[in-house]
Amino acid sequence: MTDTSAAPIKLEKPRSQWRDVWVQFRQHKGAMVALVLLCVMAAFVLIGPLIWRIDPNFIDPDPVKMIRLRNKGPSWDHPMGTDQIGRDILARMMFGGRISLAVATVAMLVAIFIGTTVGVLAGYFRRIDGLLMRLTDMFLALPLLPLLLVMMFLFRDAAAKVLGPSMGTFLLIVLAIGVTSWMHSARIVRGEVLALKEREYVLAARSIGTPARRIILRHILPNVLSPVLVAATLGIAAAIITESVLSFLGLGFPPDFPTWGRLLYDGVDAIRTYPERVVWPGIAISLTVLCVNYIGDGLRDALDPRIRGR
């Protein structure tokens, strides 16, 4: 009689793909630090204004008080000091960060969406490849800043009328940046798709009659995710800078709307006397860009099954 009651084999819990990605992502120290920092930044701009309740545009209406409040260094009342007309810099940094981060994220999403769509379509369907790539070339050849300026110039009033001055400008800036920065990701994605679609598993899928839509969603998109993510992180950085340029030229947000880019430009005038005015927004912008880049780096490693587990 054999003992049939052998101890049941202990099966490990099935691991999902995203769990693996997360485990691998945690191996990347830089990315983890960046993720934490970015969360802190997000909390600073999102939750900060709920705790620090000073209006970023508040100027003391009493001229005597206002004059006394100007150009203050850091103190308990104003942890980052005040600017040349007595506005609280901490409040302006929080409010400005909200706008800068929102613009950057949304513009990046728009750019990535357009870029990936164009790239995948061009790479997968040979018939429209030439057309789409010439379109991309055309956009690449356009001088972007003048194009942005013309767009802002033509549609600003119309957008402001429908959505109000700040929301209208937001939408316009986001669209303008998105529409002018998708080309690089489109080219990267197309190249990747061209290589992928000759791989055995795609051929196999096609040979059993899988429709193109499903092949793209199931087999191709997940595999182009890593270059897309890298392009996205670079896009965030570029979007923050572009927004500052537009604000500087007077075609971005109205002047009473602080953004990190605008704070930086305003601070340049006072750089000799009050260098911290440039340092605060400068740190915020560089830190965000750096964090996003590191996270992108970590994600790319984590998403690549060949690197995973090494």
């Binding site: 100027i59 209406p61 206002m66 004059i67 150009n71 040349q84 007309i85 110039f153 009473d256 006072a270």
Partner: protein
């Protein structure tokens, strides 16, 4: 003002006394910094202030303007007037007498032929003279004898002093420039970079857009002047670097146009090597109020035209309330420091035509609120913004992109919010805003906003052309490609009548009185223009230079012959 003038005059006399006994060229080298580098020394070929001022080291006009805007004879014996017979009774000509014995730096004598030639040079149709406006309305220039010049005008000129006065209209030597008339003007490189003049210095070397070296004119009319043997005029850098070169490092003796913000002014002055000098001319930063409706609901071509009066600003009390709510002292403190002063006038100088209106200098928030209530604007729904007949008191406030202007916008918005006015801000690229492109909706002439801010001034001391900008027929609109100067769309037959009266009024005092009246009509009576800050010229001068008198009516180097080194 009077006392200040007297004191300055006294100080100048005090300073000049020892210098007069000094010897020519005894004080070594003078170093001047024009951070916008000089590109020509012929002021007739450049409208740039830097070129005109550098030219004034070498070239002399018949008369200059002193620090108060009064004319002082330079090459002329005296200032011609109707009283001394220099100006014809019918105002159609003016006769200048040249001083005897004046020679050019090459030793040849100055004659009335040179003066006449200068007029021919600048009015040549192919010459492209940058100072053509100075000779407008001149019919001919006659030379009865070598020391007499008679300028004949096409029509009676109540202000006949435009030609040959100030650093923008100096006398050129006929012998040197004779071949440079008309189309050849700009190709005469040698002449334009080394003009022969009657001024205190002679050019020895000229590197375009870089550096000019000059030495004392051996034939200068005053044997004891100038005190400096050599002058170097250097270009390059920016306002901040220029100020620092005089105030902190002491590399230069004088730096032109050091417009920097008040905090930096204080920091630089702590350097102890120099001081900032200012002089106030006619440049006034102001808020202009649109008397017509800029609403985008109106069809293009009717927006901001007199067809539709402004729904809010047609009531003068609202305009006055906006003016009352502003604290001009704070604006000066924040934006300009010593380079500005608060003003209530459109024409702030010279003294004989500046109104004594100072009502606006103290802020009156309560008074402003009361005015709005009287005008029927009350906050009926409790949202902090006044309304009337269902319309909110909400305005769009535009200006150019400029750090100081954006600070002003923020401050003014704060005060206007305080009295219950909602303000939306807009800033426009200066190239577009001042560009004058009739197709752009963002130019200051088109004025598709309720209020806008910028600065403007007038050339010289006579305000007549400036005041006539506010005539009814100067309103910009689609029929004149939006090119009028009356950006407020102000129109008052009584004002037009005054402009007409001014064009035939003689005598400084009478003309001044008229200008004052017109200034008050535009500012304190109607509040169509809200003047904010009188912006001066602002330069840096080393403590080791004596005899410097800042001037906003002529070249800042107008009295460089009197400068000397402190011993």
């Amino acid at each position: 003002m009077k006392i200040k003038t007297l004191l300055m005059g006294a100080a100048a006399a005090f300073v000049l006394a020892p210098a007069a006994q000094a010897e020519r060229g005894a004080d070594g080298e003078l170093k001047i910094l024009y951070y916008q580098a000089v590109s020509t020394l012929n002021p007739y070929l450049s409208s740039g202030t830097k070129d005109v001022e550098a030219g004034s080291l070498v070239l002399d006009p018949l008369a200059s303007f002193d620090q108060d805007g009064n004319m002082v004879p330079r090459l002329a014996v005296e200032i011609p007037t109707v009283e001394n017979g220099g100006v014809a009774a019918d105002l159609t000509s003016i006769t200048w007498k040249l001083k005897e014995g004046i020679t050019w730096s090459d030793g040849t004598p100055l004659t009335s032929e040179d003066v006449k030639f200068t007029w021919e040079y600048c009015t040549h149709p192919e010459g492209g003279c940058a100072q053509g406006a100075k000779y407008e309305g001149v019919k001919t220039v006659e030379t009865p004898d070598p020391l007499t010049v008679k300028v004949v005008f096409e029509a009676p000129k109540p202000y006949p002093y435009q030609p040959f006065t100030g650093a923008t209209a100096p006398i050129l030597q006929k012998a040197q420039f004779g071949a440079c008339v008309g189309a050849a003007a700009s190709s005469c490189t040698e002449q334009n970079s080394k003009p022969i003049g009657t001024g205190p210095f002679v050019v020895t070397d000229f590197k375009v857009n870089d550096v000019i070296t000059l030495e004392a004119n051996p034939n200068y009319r005053d044997a004891a002047k100038p005190a400096f043997a050599k002058v170097t005029v250097k270009g390059g850098g920016d306002a901040l670097a220029a100020a620092s070169a005089v105030m902190e490092t002491g590399e230069f003796d004088y730096a032109w146009n050091t417009q920097i913000n008040p905090e930096q002014q204080a920091q630089m002055e702590a350097g102890g090597k120099g001081k900032f000098v200012n002089a106030f001319g006619t440049l006034v930063e102001r808020i202009e109020i649109n008397m017509t409706d800029p609403s985008s609901d109106l069809p293009e071509g009717e927006r901001s035209t007199p067809k539709h009066p402004h729904p809010i600003f047609s009531d003068a009390r609202v305009r006055q309330a906006l003016s009352k709510a502003i604290d001009r002292n704070v604006l000066v403190e924040v934006g300009y420091g010593a380079a500005g002063r608060p003003t209530c006038n459109l024409v702030p100088a010279p003294a004989y035509q500046a109104s004594d209106n100072t009502d606006c200098l103290t802020q009156d928030i309560e008074g402003a609120k009361k005015l709005l209530e009287e005008a029927g604007w009350v906050d009926s729904d409790g949202d902090g913004i006044r309304d009337k007949d269902g319309k909110k008191l909400s305005i769009l406030y535009q200006t150019s992109v400029n750090a100081v202007r954006q600070d002003f916008q923020a401050l003014v918005k704060g005060w206007w919010n305080e009295i219950g006015v909602e303000v939306e801000l807009k800033s426009i690229d200066p190239g577009v805003y001042f560009g004058g492109d009739a197709a752009s909706p963002d130019t200051f002439q088109k004025f598709y906003a309720d209020v806008e801010m910028y600065a403007n001034n007038f050339d010289g001391t006579d305000a007549e052309p400036y005041m006539s900008q506010y005539l009814c027929d100067k309103i910009p609109g689609p029929d004149n490609q939006w090119q009028g100067e009356n950006v407020n769309r102000f129109c008052d037959p009584a004002y037009d009548a005054l402009v007409k009266e001014l064009s035939s009024t003689v005598g400084i005092e009478a003309r001044g009185a008229l200008v004052k009246k017109m200034n008050d009509m535009l500012t304190k009576d109607s509040h169509v223009i809200i003047p904010l800050v009188d912006r001066g010229r602002f330069s840096a001068q080393s403590n080791s230079i004596d005899g410097f008198i800042m001037n906003s009516w002529d070249s800042e180097l107008w009295n460089v012959a009197d400068w000397s080194r402190v011993k």
